[in-house]
Subunit: 482 residues, 2 copies
């Protein structure tokens, strides 16, 4: 390696100049995205078109300059900071959170071992303690941070599998526990089903509990589902509930489900990836009533806490259960038994090397105060109610279900001439092609609905009225062209 090229690549002054230029680029991006002269929300390129836009070969020699390259990246990305981004459940990050993440990227103190990243280990503990308090857990609760909700659901259910079986399935295999099965809401996120498949239990042993017209678990059916499963020889060990569901943002009745789980000796897991953040709000906290009785809960900070992906908390009512997900010892990394090493999170998290993920949440919490986040959650949930009211009062729109969180599903009322689901899909395609708004779609009871997540705090009811106007306009084009 040539000494000069090395010094150049690591030169602090070259970094200083580059990074200052990129800061200006990003500040300008924020200004354009949020401002009155905002740019398009997304580039409406197909995957193949995008592949052609990025087809330069990776070659031995340098082939691009940093600033033009990053300009193209920003240009071709979705602009989540636009108030017209009302699509997926991904945050428009607080600028201060991205700045903290930048520090983490350069320092690269990649824990989950204390020796690899001492500061994040402590930040992780502080964040988990704070969340435990918000959820109403007692002093025995504890948990960890991990890389996303899918991994979080898997980590929680792995602990349940080990704790709830008499046989040591970690060393003996899943079959040693009998035909293990999990009851889930039929509205559960696909990652719960995926976890069951990964764990070797077989997705045939995912028992779907019906939901009512409000998309909540029909708690009256729980006992029957369990009885039927047991009659078929299955050994149900856990129930997975939603707080809230992905498609409609609906909260299951956690208190009633906790009653059921206690009565039948089942583990209660709550997928709170999106909705656990309601715990911050005195006004919306009741949606989570009973959550402190859950054995485990997953909570994504990158959904409703305004931070970049990925940072997911997995919290256990009995913190020591957290050591059961991965029941193994790893003596070459750790000197002591796992529970004597709270600070070596690799005992409890899938990852050995982990990003400095706590930093991007810890810093905004200290700099803005947790009250800021509580007000954010309330504002977005309030906005969803307001938006739903406008939809309900519009003759040409239909609301799928009254929202509980900041997710609103609705559709343009078909005149009867067109298939309603096909119409919504065509409307969404045209809205996206306009590059002016980004929203998604979902299937509910076999019908397709438009779906908005109101997650950018810059989005107001006026923007949502603009969206309804745009939908009306493209819908009449669709009908005219039919």
């Amino acid at each position: 390696m040539n000494d000069n090229e090395l010094k150049k690549a690591f030169d602090p002054e070259a970094f200083r100049a580059d990074a200052h230029a990129v800061v200006d680029m990003l500040a300008d991006y924020l200004e354009r995205s949020a401002g009155a002269d905002r740019r398009r929300v997304l580039p409406a390129f197909s995957p193949d078109e995008m592949a052609r836009r990025w087809d330069a070969p990776i070659s031995a020699e340098a082939s691009e300059e940093l600033l033009p390259l990053l300009t193209r990246v920003i240009e071709d990305s979705h602009h989540l900071h636009s108030p017209h981004y009302v699509g997926h459940q991904v945050s428009a990050p607080l600028p201060v959170s991205a700045v903290a993440d930048f520090v983490g990227s350069l320092l690269n103190n990649a824990s989950a071992v204390y020796d690899m990243g001492p500061v994040n280990v402590i930040h992780e503990r502080r964040i988990v303690e704070w969340m435990c308090g918000l959820l109403g857990y007692g002093p025995d609760a504890g948990g960890i941070l991990t890389s996303g909700g899918t991994l979080g659901n898997l980590t929680a259910l792995l602990a349940a599998r080990q704790v709830m079986t008499e046989a040591d399935v970690w060393s003996g295999g899943a079959a040693a526990g009998g035909e293990l099965a999990v009851m889930v809401s039929e509205q559960c996120h696909y990652s719960v089903r995926r976890a069951v498949g990964v764990m070797g239990l077989g997705t045939d042993n995912v028992i779907e509990v019906p939901t009512g017209p409000d998309f909540k678990i029909d708690t009256a059916t729980l006992a029957g589902c369990l009885k039927t499963a047991e009659e078929r020889g299955k050994r149900v060990f856990a129930v997975a509930a939603n707080a809230c569901s992905t498609a409609t943002g609906t909260y299951d009745d956690l208190a009633a489900i906790a009653d059921f789980c206690e009565a039948h000796g089942l583990w209660l897991h709550v997928d709170g990836a999106h909705g656990a953040s309601a715990a911050l709000s005195p006004r919306y906290r009741a949606l989570l009533a009973g959550v402190h009785r859950a054995d485990s809960i997953v909570w994504d900070a990158h959904k409703m806490l305004l931070v970049p992906a990925l940072i997911t908390a997995v919290i256990f009512r009995n913190g020591s259960d957290s050591y059961r997900s991965f029941a193994q010892q790893a003596s070459y990394l750790f000197e002591k038994a796992s529970e004597d090493e709270w600070y070596n999170y690799a005992h409890r998290t899938m990852e050995c090397t982990k990003t400095m993920m706590g930093l991007k949440l810890y810093v905004p919490l200290m700099v803005h105060g947790s009250g800021f986040f509580a007000r954010y959650v309330e504002t977005m949930y309030d906005l969803a109610h307001d938006f739903a009211a406008r939809i309900r009062s519009s003759a040409d729109f239909e609301l799928a279900v009254e929202p509980e969180a900041n997710i609103v599903c609705f559709r343009f009322a078909s005149s009867g001439a067109e298939d309603p689901s096909a119409l919504q899909k065509k409307i969404r395609t045209r809205v996206l092609d306009s590059e002016d708004f980004y929203l998604v779609q979902t299937d509910l009871g076999g019908d397709t609905y438009l779906r908005c997540t109101l997650i950018n705090p810059l989005t107001t009811i006026e923007h949502l009225e603009e969206l309804l106007e745009l939908i009306r306009a493209v819908a009449s084009e669709v009908v005219a062209s039919a």
Copy 2:
């Protein structure tokens, strides 16, 4: 939510000012870490001491200012950019890579669905194509990026489990495939054993293949291990080899193991988390001879490609096997069958929401050229040979094994009065307490050795001679105080 506090938190000009200040802070950090007046490598605080240093409560009101807070974070972190950091296998990130990651943090185009992050989907494809070429794979190869090597090994072995069993174990459960077992190097990383436990196969079905005095799989024992396992009723479906091993950086003989796997119809998985990067170097590529015959390989870019955690490639010889890890359909996210949607990586990666991980590698590859990384790998591997030669020629040091990669295990020669393992542990504690160098330790054949990973390109042989001097000095203190 108060309009003013919101505007303030997202104000582009406030971000611009904050971020410029942080850039200067980070440039100063790089200067101090790498320069002649470099600061300590790490803060020598115990976990409990560190917890006390960070004990401020998370309160409703703002309680800290951004810049002093981040100053404390940098102060209390490990300084991987110091040439005296010769510890874990974690990169000292290229500044340009951290800058790219910063852009990714703010944009937060969190894929693994094209609609959530179109640019990263393409970058991910370009990176995987580039890696496939370097490894000598044919046009059918393919794969994905995921959040770390542990998840990578799990993802690869999940595909193996599904492809190599006649029964559909994804839906029917692991037991439907018989008593499934995996043969691994006894030097394998704990994440491989962990994957077997997670998958419900039981860690009792991890069959350790002995390694020789060079820590390579003793290929003469493979047939016997397989026969014994089969006689015990186990259904071995995969062999996991190292390229290279974590403890000593030793490459297994992949060509011989591939011969064995082909002869017996077994899946060959290669854990190349650290060592796959040797594929960039014409001089060191031979260490990987036969790798193109592996059915799957894991390659961490955050180890030997100078980028921040996490970014791990999982590559399959038959790219379509990549769709078998998670054999499920997830119709509410995806409109088409999985293999028709190459651009929706969630079919193939554990994560649904995923960071813009490709960006931090794609940008440096375009800006520096891949030749830069090839020279980096060669420089570090060369340095390890040089360091080993110095150790070999010093009467007071013993080399554990001739290094093949940039990992060097050695020990201070005990005068006979002290227990050699206890002596190395005491030496390491004193070195860390000095805050002047960071190195780790490992157990080999029951004895403790000191272990260096030469991963920071600013580390030179002169620094390593300083380390040997420091070890001599603290060793004589240890002996004197005994």
